[in-house]
Symmetry: D2
Subunit: 353 residues, 4 copies
Amino acid sequence: MAGNSFGTIFKLTTFGESHGKALGGIIDGCPAGIDIDLEQIQLELNRRKPGQSAIVTQRKEPDTVQFLSGIFEGKTTGTSIGFVIENTNQKSKDYGHIKDVYRPSHADFTYTEKYGVRDYRGGGRSSARETASRVVAGAIAKQFLKNIEFYAYVTSVGKIELEENDTIDFTEIEKNPVRCPNAQKAAAMEDYIKQIRKEGDTVGGTVACVIKNVPVGLGEPVFDKLHAELGKAMLSINAVKGFEYGSGFKGTQMKGSEHNDAFNSDGSTKTNYSGGIQGGISNGMDIYFNVAFKPVATIMQKQETINSEGEKVEMQGKGRHDPCVVPRAVPIVEAMAALTIADFFLINRTTKA
Amino acid sequence: MAGNSFGTIFKLTTFGESHGKALGGIIDGCPAGIDIDLEQIQLELNRRKPGQSAIVTQRKEPDTVQFLSGIFEGKTTGTSIGFVIENTNQKSKDYGHIKDVYRPSHADFTYTEKYGVRDYRGGGRSSARETASRVVAGAIAKQFLKNIEFYAYVTSVGKIELEENDTIDFTEIEKNPVRCPNAQKAAAMEDYIKQIRKEGDTVGGTVACVIKNVPVGLGEPVFDKLHAELGKAMLSINAVKGFEYGSGFKGTQMKGSEHNDAFNSDGSTKTNYSGGIQGGISNGMDIYFNVAFKPVATIMQKQETINSEGEKVEMQGKGRHDPCVVPRAVPIVEAMAALTIADFFLINRTTKA
Amino acid sequence: MAGNSFGTIFKLTTFGESHGKALGGIIDGCPAGIDIDLEQIQLELNRRKPGQSAIVTQRKEPDTVQFLSGIFEGKTTGTSIGFVIENTNQKSKDYGHIKDVYRPSHADFTYTEKYGVRDYRGGGRSSARETASRVVAGAIAKQFLKNIEFYAYVTSVGKIELEENDTIDFTEIEKNPVRCPNAQKAAAMEDYIKQIRKEGDTVGGTVACVIKNVPVGLGEPVFDKLHAELGKAMLSINAVKGFEYGSGFKGTQMKGSEHNDAFNSDGSTKTNYSGGIQGGISNGMDIYFNVAFKPVATIMQKQETINSEGEKVEMQGKGRHDPCVVPRAVPIVEAMAALTIADFFLINRTTKA
Amino acid sequence: MAGNSFGTIFKLTTFGESHGKALGGIIDGCPAGIDIDLEQIQLELNRRKPGQSAIVTQRKEPDTVQFLSGIFEGKTTGTSIGFVIENTNQKSKDYGHIKDVYRPSHADFTYTEKYGVRDYRGGGRSSARETASRVVAGAIAKQFLKNIEFYAYVTSVGKIELEENDTIDFTEIEKNPVRCPNAQKAAAMEDYIKQIRKEGDTVGGTVACVIKNVPVGLGEPVFDKLHAELGKAMLSINAVKGFEYGSGFKGTQMKGSEHNDAFNSDGSTKTNYSGGIQGGISNGMDIYFNVAFKPVATIMQKQETINSEGEKVEMQGKGRHDPCVVPRAVPIVEAMAALTIADFFLINRTTKA
């Protein structure tokens, strides 16, 4: 209920505050007998890590994951997988100045109202630092799903966006710090992010994701449609404001005669406005969707706000923050997609007599 | 798991196929002691009913709900509420011609692959007829939530859309068959839908929803953020392709300095790009979001498709279908919003010691 | 949360009060493609029905189940199965006299305190009439599990009990109204129940259950051990006060050297004190357990009690009640066992990579 | 699904193998604002610890719990509480000799069959070492429930049992190593356990639990009755074979006229055969129940068994094991009772409009 779990059969539960002792989680329901490549998990985590390039936060966190259970002699055992990531860079004093301040468009006000108390250090539980645990679990989900491929990438930063004629080259994604699959646009986005940082400002952006080789039949009709869970998964990531799949919002302007995906004789379709999902169930075509991220709320400019007494105060972000989250959001989007697919993959085994 | 339930504490489970004996559901976890206005429930159901205007499907279904338990002497008792809506207009023979045909962009192919069998009559369980049960449950959720107001309305049909300067008048919504809060745009949309129907075609559209008077504190951080569940709720409605809340996709183009919502001294905010939700928790401001609906897949034009043997066949929609779903989707969007809020309202009672 | 569901994948949710319009339920997660024998389901329901013999309640309820969805052309479709059993014998007036009375050892007091309101007619939701829905769902679970056999039977009525040397003949169970697998003891029990009824009193008893051909591997270790769920399933039946499996309470007096079940080379065991379950997981041996039922609280004798104002009142049970529940509990025990096994059977499919 | 979680709102998920790096868990849904006494938690853990007296296993494990999140400045924050207990005494080599051996009445065979792999060191996940995490969570539940008192105690060891006329003095429980509330019987039990240990054997026993000051209204009728969840909670503890509450198995021999609990004018009852629960809901009287523990399977005697190839092998338990689990089971029974009550306490807040 309290919202720290994702999934039903392949289920992740996470814990940890931004400036507590450690983050971590428990993966329950991961099948037994999966070969686990620990190095690969750490590599995924490194893709999300602060300090990896000049356009992301310069905090230094090694973000080393340590597994405590559920993996034995290189394989999952079917028991719950516990893991921790220590917070080695806790500078709690940095946060004394915001102890009683409600930062605009942050969760300070709502947490205090909801719980009566709040770990104010670095956003506490509301910090995107929590997503490190998701990346760990997502990496294991990927190793379980083996043949299914997840490609997330940045499609826009502010108003700079991939356009219809821009080439998309998945091998380009990890070659530039923006994680955009078009080198030219990547360069423009990178420049723009640097300029935004200089202004002490932040900017939003969009991440797309393509999932290949999804077997037919994943997703449960009615409330737990595959795209409904994918949507929830994405909307649960910090700073996300929107989700669309297949034809998305643009599809609302189309006619049925244009939008319908005609079948080939093998059940594949000639077009894919459906985005790989029909009636909430995967149809074997590529699944694709877009995720909208708002600009980070912490800016390096003076802002007027209130404190917990409702008094006006002035504040200014300090320290080491992302001017744009989308580059680091890419591995998180993939992780949440992998967790969603892994769960439906297992649920689908219970469908037939 | 099998996806026929929504909610955790205030939970709806539904059953029923388009052409089976009846639809219905069970509401579990509805608090005891709520005064139930049965007439009001039926009125909500009538808003969704086929045949209510010239621009929706002309099927005749009375859609009368009958309650079987959980309400006694006009009040909920805290026990599970069972209800049924009989299917009085089952013309199964109408569907013999599509028994083995996979209709493009429908769920025929995916259901057959997933389950090995399929009730082919009128889409069976994949039919939007299932949403009648959601409207019943949503109407009860509204009666529980009393002071919280839900206003869904149509904001676009095809390329005709409400623009920034168009006035929005909530009292207009139920006065026109499109359910658009601007009479002039409503008329244009109505004309367009009629034209589309003449072409034997269909068209998509968008529905917005505003929720007023939501108390501060609803929503569970991390995975079950209020907007993540709202998103899932909306994406679970038939034909939905996208969801955005607050600044949504447009917000990705903004800078943090523009997007941040400055506080007033009472905790309310001067702007509301956050859409009434911060850190996944309601902040007391209006919640608002948009939902994208694709064009209905059933068109009255000849289409080439395949049958279950993979053979090419030609088919043409017959009978009584909606040229555009958004007018009838309005009460469904409200119902799903009410169910989501009711659930979080109850969960929130467990938050403090 | 509100407690009207059982199971996780193969899940039953029920509704209905003793004297409402109807009882019923939704089975969600029942796999597709199961051949359904409707007559067999009705036969199971008849085993639980009032009025079937001279030693059970003489109420007349046809208890006819009607399926509304999820079964098409004789097979389950994988969609939710809705069903209803109408209450044809509602004599609400019968209950006017207990409207404000708290019957001793009934749920009248606790329901009123918990919910503030109560459907007082015949116990409302707390009536064992609810178990009819369980028998329907259990019958479907049995048809899914085909080769797994469930044998519940009465082992004691008051102080008359099956003793170690009494022969147990499963073919005897349905031949006598007590459902005891030993004809002689059955006769003694029957006589005793008749005498108890004459006294206007009631008496408790015990039901045993043996489950044969359970595959190895069912049950989830730690909290959801197979016997823990079986225990919960049984304890959820009205009037149950205890559950033990394998060596049970007697096993507490044994030494490890006596109690350990030595293996045969095929993994079967020479003895079966474990009751077919080790570490919470089935080991392929017969599962067996005992369920304790208290005497029915409604007696045909005068009792002093209180009303909702806390005033002393005198009351006397009227009408048609069971002097001993165990004969009618037998099919309910089997149904709950079948539901438990069906659920673990499906969960177990998700265990390996 | 995979069974490593307990509870619905106040939910514990655990991880950890007997000889892995650490055990631990996440408590989700613990309300915010509870004052946490860390020392008291450690004291509860010490009651369960190996090596605390001459009649329990002599393994040395400090069992120090470390909290990683969810507690800030001495109070719970409403976010998930992560904790770990390091395994400092891992002697994996000790277990080489049983790597391929299936120990009788252990979970070796069933785990291997279910998962295909198994962490064979000390029973891995099937070891009762897992219950340390339950005691931690139970201690927090107790601090939340403050006024509700939990008294578990040993009522029998083998055939030595508390009899009807034996005085029960709760202050005696922690004064003797057996945790029996009668000093004389405690001494006899202690002697017996020492003798059993000398024989290289083990013995079973029974634990009773009384819960005082439970408010009226806890428990959800139908499937999630308070006693059904308590039963599941207890049956999920290692070595448990049975559960009964109130009049229990003995109540089956009583007549309704003897068993009914007559009301006092304040709603309390003159007798308490109901065990504080009516219709699955607490009625404010003391809740009491009994839990049956089988003899520990690991004995210090030679046993013939099989290995994973089905070959006969001889084995003998080594090292440091409990000759009787009931003394150390007492805090575990209390912990599981506290977790159950805490969960229903929170659920009950959602019951009324």
